[in-house]
Symmetry: C2
Subunit: 244 residues, 2 copies
Amino acid sequence: MKQIMLTISYDGTHYYGWQKQDGLPTIQAELEKACKRLFGHEVSIKGSGRTDAGVHARGQCASLKVNTPIPVEKMPRSLNNILPKDIVVLDAKLVGEGFHPQYLAKKKTYIYKVINSKYPVPQLWNYTYFVYTPLDIEAMSQGARHFVGTHDFKAFCSSKNTKKDTIRSIYSFKIKQDGDIITFEVCGNGFLHNMVRIMVGTLIEVGKGDMKPDDIRQIILSKNRLKAGITVPASGLTMYRVEY
Amino acid sequence: MKQIMLTISYDGTHYYGWQKQDGLPTIQAELEKACKRLFGHEVSIKGSGRTDAGVHARGQCASLKVNTPIPVEKMPRSLNNILPKDIVVLDAKLVGEGFHPQYLAKKKTYIYKVINSKYPVPQLWNYTYFVYTPLDIEAMSQGARHFVGTHDFKAFCSSKNTKKDTIRSIYSFKIKQDGDIITFEVCGNGFLHNMVRIMVGTLIEVGKGDMKPDDIRQIILSKNRLKAGITVPASGLTMYRVEY
């Protein structure tokens, strides 16, 4: 058996997220189906982390064990010929037997896109979050600096979070503006359920002037989900990169 | 009755084009339905030109006559509250009684987006055309210069073209690259059916090295559709701007 790591890009709009669920279309299920067809045996795929319904990926990583004479460099194109067109394998490589895409991930980067304009852009509904109120980029950038470091992010995870340990390290949090599009880019050692979406939702409160940049620090310390902002929609979120 | 000009943006993915067709979802039909609900009477909407199924718009212009006390500056938001979310009215203004959005258009600008990379980008399927072979931007720009000017574009229109006069003026044709995305921007006094898509399809042949830039001149002179390249897919095309 060879252990393979795949890098995968997908449009999450029409899927119920990464993880297999009985009878529902998910990314993991589509990949396992395509692998079974290509390799001729059942394949179990492990992802670097789950993505929720409607969340996209540019660099999701996943591993699988296969018994096949197909050379690894031919796998992306062969899988893409079978997969639905909103899932694209960008890379495949051989990895050691001990590789685990979730436990060995050192850094993960997510991006979140907001369209900040008078009217929405119809082509971007599934890929951005539309905010009408003008946002103060400088204030949001100041607020974002409070996230950087090692903190207990209990205030920034959904009530569905099942992880006991809510301490995570954020390495960087950048906010860029290009015309009407604002991109939030956050890199850390791991993220709790809905953590990126709640962090962005809170920064948007800062951007609107409804919170001050330094309030972020108090919210982190409070460990109280109710103090933070809304969970912004899944559509704006992309799992951008996983580093090992 | 007031005569109003609307500027409209839409995602054409889920529509059978601009023009009303019995029982099929079209942009014109959705706009007329929304106007009827807002203004309380039947409204007939004239566009600056048709767009085919799957083609998008950022600045389609259209006119309508209404009998309403609603101030014109409130109309975009009121219509957007009724319209499906993939159609957005960006502007409404009062125009003179003699205004005609098609006959009085002086310049139209279309953009066409190509994604030129090893693998497609799943989020961009409905908004770009994916080309695997690396394209030579300089050669395509040289080829595009031959389109500028007043020519008989018979070789660059579909067999469904119903217009007798196939002479059009192209004012500019620019090609820009931003990472993997190549944007073709063409401005002219009007376009024949499929003209932009066939011009881009022919330039892509030049970009691949299958035609020379100067071949474009010969194809124009031939007036023969069979000499030109393919009609590239509707998904990459956006009606960008109409000037009066």
